[in-house]
Symmetry: C2
DNA sequence: CCCGCTTGACAACAATGTTGTCAAGCGATT
DNA sequence: AATCGCTTGACAACATTGTTGTCAAGCGGG
């Protein structure tokens, strides 16, 4: 059974070590809405592996010079591209099927007519 | 006859007024490779309407807080999305045609078989 | 010849992002 | 109960970035 990558696991100090960032930086990212770690009932942040990945993505982008507004927009664009790609794939599949059905139909029709 | 939007038309002072920016800012954008105005044989920058549009796009992006590294990446992503969309449209069209042809063929086959 | 623009370079200044420090609070261990 | 180690949010210091302004030098048209 695979572990759920959205499971809240790490407190901020651990998360900070994992991604090699300052805890204060992670808090700021959350304030800006870039990462949304879960919270315990005691208001302690808990980062999931997904959250960690997202932090690393932010790290890559700021590493090439983007500021946080840019990071936000780029991440959203990438997300939009991904869903677009997914939707398209789906649509393609649907058409493919419909087409196969139509061709089947015509083939059958041709066959019965020939008989 | 429509004017070519890539025709070099405006010197930097005019371009700066058109987009309401400082000439020095435009020079910096060029240094960073964000805009590429043409040059006269005397090394004077000449901005086309396309260049002007690009400046305005940069303006919009910095206006919502992006820095120039972010602007560069976002513009490239948008461009990539656009070409992707275009390619896809083309591919769709191609398949559509091929399909229509196949269906035609089957219809004809069915018809001749029935006769 | 001079005026008005161009060129590139440098400085001033505000804004941004990271890091560090602070006081206060909570929970587990002693 | 006292202490230790973490958490919380807030504030300051600092380097970096982007815009604007100023500068000297050069070119072309009136």
């Amino acid at each position: 059974m695979r572990r759920d990558s959205s499971e809240p696991l790490y407190v901020i100090s651990v998360a900070a070590k994992l991604v090699d960032m300052h805890p204060q930086t992670l808090r700021m990212y959350e304030r800006l809405g870039l990462v949304k770690p879960a919270r315990t009932e005691n208001n302690i942040r808990l980062y999931s592996d997904e959250d960690i990945d997202r932090c690393r993505q932010i790290q890559r982008l700021t590493g090439v010079g983007l500021n946080l507004a840019g990071v936000e927009m780029v991440l959203e664009l990438l997300q939009r591209m991904e869903t677009m790609r997914r939707d398209l794939e789906e649509e393609m599949e649907r058409r493919e099927e419909e087409l196969a059905r139509e061709i089947q139909r015509l083939r059958r029709e041709a066959a019965t007519a020939r008989r």
